[in-house]
Amino acid sequence: MITADGLLKLASLSKLSLDGIDLDETARDVGSVIDFANEVSTADLTGYNLTETDDQSPLREDIVVPSVPVGTILVNAGEAVTDGGGGFFVAPVKGAVK
């Protein structure tokens, strides 16, 4: 279970706004999924070797490769400043954007 206050805390951590949303109903909804996920607590893993793995983490040489031009990276930005070969994203602050 999760309370409406708990849901607001979770939304804050998730960078989501719950303005205009029925908190109690959403808490019940999310709570039912959490309860479902909590079924993992009943699993008995006695006898399993939980440390063995057949997967090897592949490594690659630490070599500098050509990167994407800054101007290309900025193409999809809502607001950006470009100057010659450089440029940057613009983060909106209070009063800077309508």
């Binding site: 979770l10 039912s32 909590n38 993992v40 057949d54």
Partner: protein, 483 residues
């Protein structure tokens, strides 16, 4: 349904040109899409241009690869430079990538003709396709039914005859479940068989790209074209080529039947899947009863791991670098929160919240850590089983295609993936193929699960079934192109 091999023969024998084919498929997609919604974006000009290049190659007398000139549908989470890639989300409604995914590079090198970008559940999160911001596609096998998800538009395009094959992605069943619902073949390759470079991420340790096709041989042909090692995705290793080694011979093949996958099934699904087992037995396979007790933990394990990764992966959508931006806000924090709340749909937000919950202090060990332990246990169980049998046969889904108006809770919808998620958790390959019909004439899918990087065995077994049944379960639907 028209196959890749049929198209290839038409082109090589010059009975049809690639341009004529492209025109037919693009026109059919444009005609059917207002109702069927299998596509989010139809790329007529690019398709016709690619087809003309194939025609020029044929005119020069050059050999063409198997996928040259073959029209297909690409799920709209595969990055395509210059073509918008939306993930079926308001968040990326106008996003146009500046680079191609590895899989699109591979297909372009063959001369593939992309009809358009396929509809899907938003950010690949869903089992019905109802979460698409652009509206849900209809199932060509019954328009009151969902096509499944998340690659529902792709499956619907193949079943509906507006694409010869499709490229989907599968995080917990998103290729196999819609393939089963729409009566086509769907292959989830081994994790690492296909590069994920350029695939917009949902849950990176589970996501894998694969084909949806009209038959088993086509799935092998597409897999061969897209599977490769790619230094831009360090998990990719490629997998052995399969199409030329397809035999359809299952003599001596040991097929495990795990009863746990058959619990609480409608009788007609159990009967169809068991009948397919018997068909394979008649072809020389050996059936063996085996046990997979961890099946019931697959879904909760999957939702913890997938949502945890999604909450992290989707953190990048802040409105600053790409995607939707809120217009009204108080400060930067409010801007980011409102951007995300406006841009994401309800299911995506639900999963981000769950992912944040299981990763948060106080719950991490009980949820995320336990799920990681279960992932290892489920993988160990598969490895143990594959010491005794060569593959497993299960149903793909516990139901046929759901009705659009079915009133189900989120957890009830998640249950449609109960047979498919353990495969992603373990990273093994699996194929869904049509094996029957229910009383309403809706397709039933069976699933073959194999060892890591052994797609050959499950493709062979599925082909053996297809050959033995004279492909009677691979039926065309109304609409689309009829050659």
């Amino acid at each position: 349904m028209t196959s890749i091999t049929q198209i290839h023969e038409l082109l090589v024998s010059k009975k049809m040109s690639a341009s004529e084919l492209a025109e037919q498929y693009v026109s059919a997609a444009e005609r059917d899409n207002p109702e069927m919604k299998a596509y989010i974006t139809i790329t007529r000009d690019a398709a016709m241009s690619a087809a003309r290049e194939v025609d020029a190659k044929i005119a020069r007398g050059a050999e063409i690869p198997p996928l040259a000139g073959v029209p297909f549908n690409m799920k709209d989470l595969v990055s395509t430079a210059g073509v918008r890639t939306t993930c079926a989300s308001k968040m990326l409604e106008d996003y146009v990538p500046f680079y191609d995914a590895a899989v699109w590079e591979a297909l372009q090198s063959q001369g593939a003709v992309m009809v358009g970008k396929g509809n899907m559940d938003e950010f690949a999160m869903g089992s019905t396709n109802k979460t698409s911001y652009f509206g849900a596609p209809l199932n060509p096998r019954g328009k009151s039914r969902v096509p499944g998800g998340s690659s529902g538009g792709v499956a619907a395009a193949v079943a509906g005859g507006t694409a010869v094959y499709g490229i989907g992605s599968d995080t917990g069943g998103s290729i196999r479940q819609p393939a089963a619902y729409c009566g086509v073949v769907g292959l989830k390759p081994t994790y690492g068989a296909v590069s994920r470079y350029g695939l917009i991420a949902f849950a990176s340790s589970l996501d894998q790209i694969g084909p949806l096709t009209a038959n088993v041989r086509d799935a092998a042909i597409v897999l061969d074209a897209i599977s490769d090692k790619d230094s831009r995705d360090m998990t990719s290793r490629g997998t052995a080529k399969t199409a030329d080694r397809l035999t359809g011979d299952v003599h001596g093949l040991r097929i495990g039947i795990a009863r746990e996958f058959f619990e609480n099934l409608p009788p007609e699904i159990e009967e169809s899947v068991m009948a397919s087992a018997k068909t394979l037995e008649k072809q020389g396979a050996v059936l063996a009863d085996v046990s997979f007790p961890m099946v019931s933990y697959g879904l909760p394990t999957y939702y913890i791991l997938a949502c945890a990764e999604a909450s992290s992966n989707l953190g990048r959508y802040d409105g600053l670098r790409f995607g939707h931006r809120a217009e009204e806000f108080r400060d930067l924090e409010d801007f980011i929160c409102k951007t995300r709340s406006e841009g994401f749909g309800a299911e995506v937000k639900r999963r981000i919240l769950l992912g944040t919950y299981v990763l948060s202090s106080g719950y991490y060990d009980a949820f995320y850590n336990k799920a990681q332990q279960l992932r290892r246990a489920i993988s160990n169980d598969f490895e143990k089983l594959f010491g005794a049998v060569d593959c497993l046969l299960t149903p793909t889904t516990p139901s046929t295609a759901l009705r659009f108006d079915a009133q189900l809770s989120p957890v009830e919808v998640y249950m449609t993936d109960i047979c498919t998620v353990p495969i992603n958790i373990a990273g093994v390959p699996a194929i869904s193929f049509p094996c029957g019909f229910d009383a309403d004439g809706l397709p039933i899918g069976a699933q073959l699960i194999g060892r890591k990087f052994d797609e050959q065995t499950i493709l062979n077994a599925a082909l053996a079934f297809e050959n033995a049944t004279a492909a009677e379960f691979l039926r065309p639907s109304n609409g689309g192109v009829s050659l």
